[in-house]
Subunit: 165 residues, 2 copies
DNA sequence: TTGGAATGTCAACAAGGCTGACATAAAATA
DNA sequence: TATTTTATGTCAGCCTTGTTGACATTCCAA
């Protein structure tokens, strides 16, 4: 630890209100950058961020149920349904009746859906890759650690769950 | 650099698509956590995130002009104006005609406005402070470095500009 | 004096949240 | 078996916050 060479006061400088304020603003501007590229692509196709999120998580967990998606996305079923309906109509998503439980609907991307997901995540990954490359692995490790610490505990569980699948 | 002890392949593992996908999801969930506390407070008072952003940046740069705020927030004047009007009506913001240039309006928070800003940023800072504490200064430094690298160049300039003021 | 910049305002529209109410099918349980 | 609960879909309506377009005002600057 670098800190052991510092006085207590110096070691805690990263916790000052000013540092925290800067962190808050950095988060705000970075999130805008983070969504800017997909937003441009989505707009061309007449979709929005809501469609992106749905497509992203269906891609990560093919066959996921509607209820599952609701929990992850944190929106109402009415809101999700509106988005899902257009994705199904446009042939990006297909729905299968559940096998064990026929009340459930399992969601999958079609080839067309996967193509859009690919295009969106390519754009987003490119920006993230550029940032990662620029700063190196140690900074990236720190980045991920802070992000995880900032999530709501519930969401952290969902997040870690997704990583294991 | 730790990397020098690793093979090339190992050193670049942090740039795999899977790592990037995890980073994207972490960003999504963390941003939700990041806004969750202020959102709850805002809802009680009948405001939204748009009000929070306006109040935040007026607080950081008292006397800022409408145009300035538009650039930082990246919305249309009509959209900002709606938010600004309610903040003025509710006595959270006051507007002064510019001294040099009388077309400009300089925006300031009232005591009431500062109180709200305080309440919101306290909530947000508390979460960020908890995360920072939990992970330590090195991770925080990495976090900030990646966020800055992820911003649009224009926004990075605005962000660094705000830090200097 | 004229053009353009900074601002405000009105109207209309869209996306994407929300709530509430109601319908259906199937699973689970009393 | 009868009832309740769960998973899902759908309709209607509301809110916030973004958008465009049009138009007015004020005032700096060439």
């Amino acid at each position: 630890m670098q800190n052991q060479n510092r006085t207590m006061g110096e070691a805690l400088l990263y916790l000052t209100d000013e540092q925290l304020r800067q962190g808050i603003e950095a988060m705000f501007f970075a999130y805008r950058g983070f969504t800017a590229d997909p937003d441009r692509i989505l707009e061309e196709k007449g979709y929005g961020r809501a469609h992106h999120r749905a497509v992203h998580f269906i891609n990560c967990a093919p066959g996921t149920t509607v209820n599952n998606l609701l929990k992850i996305l944190g929106v109402t079923k009415q809101s999700l349904n509106r988005v899902l309906r257009t994705l199904i109509e446009d042939g990006l998503v297909i729905v299968n009746v559940g096998q064990r439980d026929k009340r459930e609907r399992n969601l999958f991307l079609t080839d067309k859906g996967r193509a859009l997901e690919q295009q969106l995540s390519d754009a987003q990954r490119n920006r993230m890759r550029a940032a990662y490359r620029q700063v190196g692995p140690d900074a990236v490790a720190g980045f991920r650690t802070v992000l995880e610490a900032m999530m709501d505990p519930e969401m952290r569980r969902a997040y870690l769950g997704l990583r294991q699948e």
